[in-house]
């Protein structure tokens, strides 16, 4: 595979053991609200670290710290062993951390090729005639997406006309193309159907195989277990578990994710409940 800069810079990294990104007991407070407390996470090159948690568990806050949108209040945040605190998304990008957001990955009304290069447009010419290299941008966009299995006839179509899975793929392809070392994915499969989710997970795996370190945020343990190397579970802003893949089974992960004993309670409750009436037509009118 010719994955641009990612191949050449990242190939030796898995051996030396220094995580690309490491969070150690990181906390974040919004005023008196404890959004995140004592969360640790390691991201290694060529591995996928999954962050699992229900709504409000602190996943978004964690992403924002790694992506440079917010700064952490306690603990340490290291990039390739060096302690740091990112001040902007631009700085995160410059340090090789690319974040793909669930809803905010792209600008829907803009053509695909403009989206692909947004923020890092190649130029040619000098002075007042400095302009975007449109031909190169179109060709590259088409070629890069083709490699991801998206055959666009028209890179000029607004990206909003693509399906949700394709949009995620464009965003992932973009991060890989621009030589990201760490790819942070915010719920990439949350709004997708089964088949689309599979397609996206395939590209997540492809990014991993290209040598990137991936942070996969999700609330779906099945998707996480398909590709993940380590799993961090968040619950109400704290870390409720951290496991390597060989330490945990999918069932156990699902159980922990759903809240362990809470799930057992739920099961009992559901077992007691009467089966739903399958004949709505003959039911009482006020049932609706």
């Amino acid at each position: 595979m010719t994955t641009e800069a990612a191949d050449t810079t990242e190939a030796p990294a898995p051996d030396d053991g220094t995580p690309l990104v490491e969070l150690d007991a990181v906390s974040k407070y919004y005023g008196n609200i404890r959004a995140l407390e004592g969360v640790s996470l390691e991201v290694h090159a060529g591995e996928i670290s999954c962050v699992l948690g229900d709504n409000g568990a602190g996943k978004s806050t964690l992403i924002k710290i790694i992506a440079g949108l917010h700064q952490h209040d306690a603990g340490t945040f290291r990039i390739e062993g060096e302690e740091t605190s990112l001040s902007s998304p631009r700085e995160a990008l410059d340090r090789g951390i690319a974040t793909v957001y669930q809803d905010l990955a792209v600008v829907p009304l803009m053509p695909v090729w403009r989206n692909f290069f947004l923020g890092s447009e190649p130029t040619k010419g000098t002075g007042p005639f400095k302009r975007m290299d449109v031909e190169f941008m179109r060709k590259t966009t088409h070629a890069e997406l083709l490699r991801m299995g998206i055959d666009l006839r028209d890179v000029d179509q607004p990206i909003g006309t693509l399906s949700g899975g394709e949009r995620q793929c464009v965003a992932i392809a973009r991060a890989v193309y621009f030589g990201a070392k760490v790819l942070v994915l915010d719920e990439p499969t949350a709004a997708l159907g089964v088949k689309q989710s599979g397609v996206v997970l395939k590209y997540v795996a492809a990014a991993r195989d290209a040598g990137l370190g991936v942070v996969l945020i999700t609330h779906n343990p099945h998707h996480a277990y398909l590709v993940g190397n380590r799993f961090v579970l968040l619950k109400r802003g704290t870390m409720s578990g951290s496991h390597a893949r060989d330490e945990i089974t999918l069932d156990e992960l699902t159980r922990q994710m759903a809240g362990g004993s809470e799930l057992d309670d739920l099961r009992h409750e559901l077992e007691r409940a009467p089966a739903p009436d399958l004949k709505p037509d003959t039911g009482t009118p006020d049932a609706s």
Partner: protein, 350 residues
């Protein structure tokens, strides 16, 4: 082009994608509604007003269109970037007043005043932009504040300095003739007189189109208007882009203001109020989405042309000009509906 057809022997990846015809592509352009509207308005007045088609009349129409177009083009860019500027109308007057009064009070050469006016007007643009990105309220409110402050300052300072509501004549000052050449001269082609503002207008359309379609800044303008958070996340300098857009409007206000000054020699300090809406209407007729992220400079220029044709066409048709506003409102509604309809049809590729 690499986009013509899928590779042979390979199954079509997405059977839902149909090939778009060039006609459909044209229908998808943001300018379309305004071009159709402009042709309709042109034909309408060509039929009802006998003198409309004469060359001097058309030159007058173009002049009327250019004075609006010089501002409508940067206002359209700002709207594509997702913001409004309600101070755009009075800023023109402010710019003219600064130029006139600084020249009259401080120096002997009007060009010094013109230069000071450029800096001061750009500073107002920067003020609008910085206030917007540093604080949270929508640009509608912030520039409404600037609009009111400028309106008050225009009247207040003019009365304070010259004692009346208009400025003193500067036509006998050094540099007036050359400045008039640049901002308010008349170019005669054949026996038809064209105002130089038409040149400024066309130049601004060309530059704005170049910026929008072919430069990085243009990409950023579409992005901050169409998805500010997404743009920020991929490293687009959102703040700088917006400040730049407000400076573009300020530049347009400066050009318009200087034209006002050197065309009439004196400036009425109460002018300009209400024009900001005309610029916005021209941009909307030209296909700019009011929510940002979509539109074109050419469309805004055509919007200004519709304005020019309507305002002068009513005169040539010898109707009561009181009806102008009614026509304007009807045109705005029709253009918006047509735009929405066209866009829906063109984008419904499924």
């Amino acid at each position: 082009m690499s986009t013509t057809a899928p590779a042979p022997g390979k199954p079509v990846a997405d059977e839902r994608l149909l090939k778009t015809s060039p006609l459909k592509k044209f229908l998808g352009r943001p300018e379309l509604g305004s071009v159709v509207g402009a042709v309709a308005v042109f034909l309408f007045f060509a039929i009802v007003a006998d003198s409309f088609l004469r060359a001097p009349s058309l030159a007058t129409v173009l002049y009327a269109a250019s004075t609006i177009g010089i501002m409508a083009v940067p206002v359209a860019l700002l709207m594509i970037g997702g913001e409004f500027d309600l101070s755009a109308g009075v800023m023109v007057t402010t710019s003219a007043l600064i130029s006139s009064m600084f020249s009259y009070q401080m120096t002997a050469n009007v060009w010094v005043g013109v230069g000071v006016s450029l800096l001061a007007t750009l500073a107002i643009g920067v003020f609008n932009g910085v206030m917007l990105i540093r604080t949270d309220p929508p640009s509608f409110i912030i520039t409404l504040g600037t609009f009111l402050m400028l309106t008050g300052m225009n009247l207040g300072f003019t009365k304070l300095i010259s004692g009346t509501v208009s400025t003193k004549s500067i036509s006998d000052m050094e540099g007036f003739a050359s400045a008039k050449d640049v901002f308010a001269s008349t170019i005669t082609i054949g026996d038809v007189d064209f105002k130089i503002t038409i040149v400024w207008w066309l130049a601004m359309v060309a530059i704005a189109t170049w910026i929008l379609l072919r430069t990085r800044a243009g990409n950023w303008i579409f992005a901050v208007g169409g998805g500010e958070q997404a743009a920020r996340a991929v490293g687009v300098p959102v703040g700088r882009t917006k400040i730049g857009l407000y400076m573009g409007v300020a530049f347009g206000a400066w050009v318009s203001g200087q034209h006002l000054l050197f065309n009439y020699d004196v400036v009425q300090s109460g002018e300009g109020v209400g024009n900001e809406l005309i610029y916005i209407i021209a941009a909307v007729i030209g296909g700019c989405l009011i929510t940002g992220g979509y539109g074109s400079a050419v469309g805004a220029a055509v919007g200004a042309l519709i304005f020019g044709m309507t305002s002068k066409g009513i005169v040539y048709a010898e109707w009561n000009p009181d009806w102008f506003k009614f026509f304007l409102g009807a045109m705005l509604l029709l253009a918006t509906l047509l735009n929405a309809w066209v866009r829906k049809r063109a984008e419904a590729t499924k």
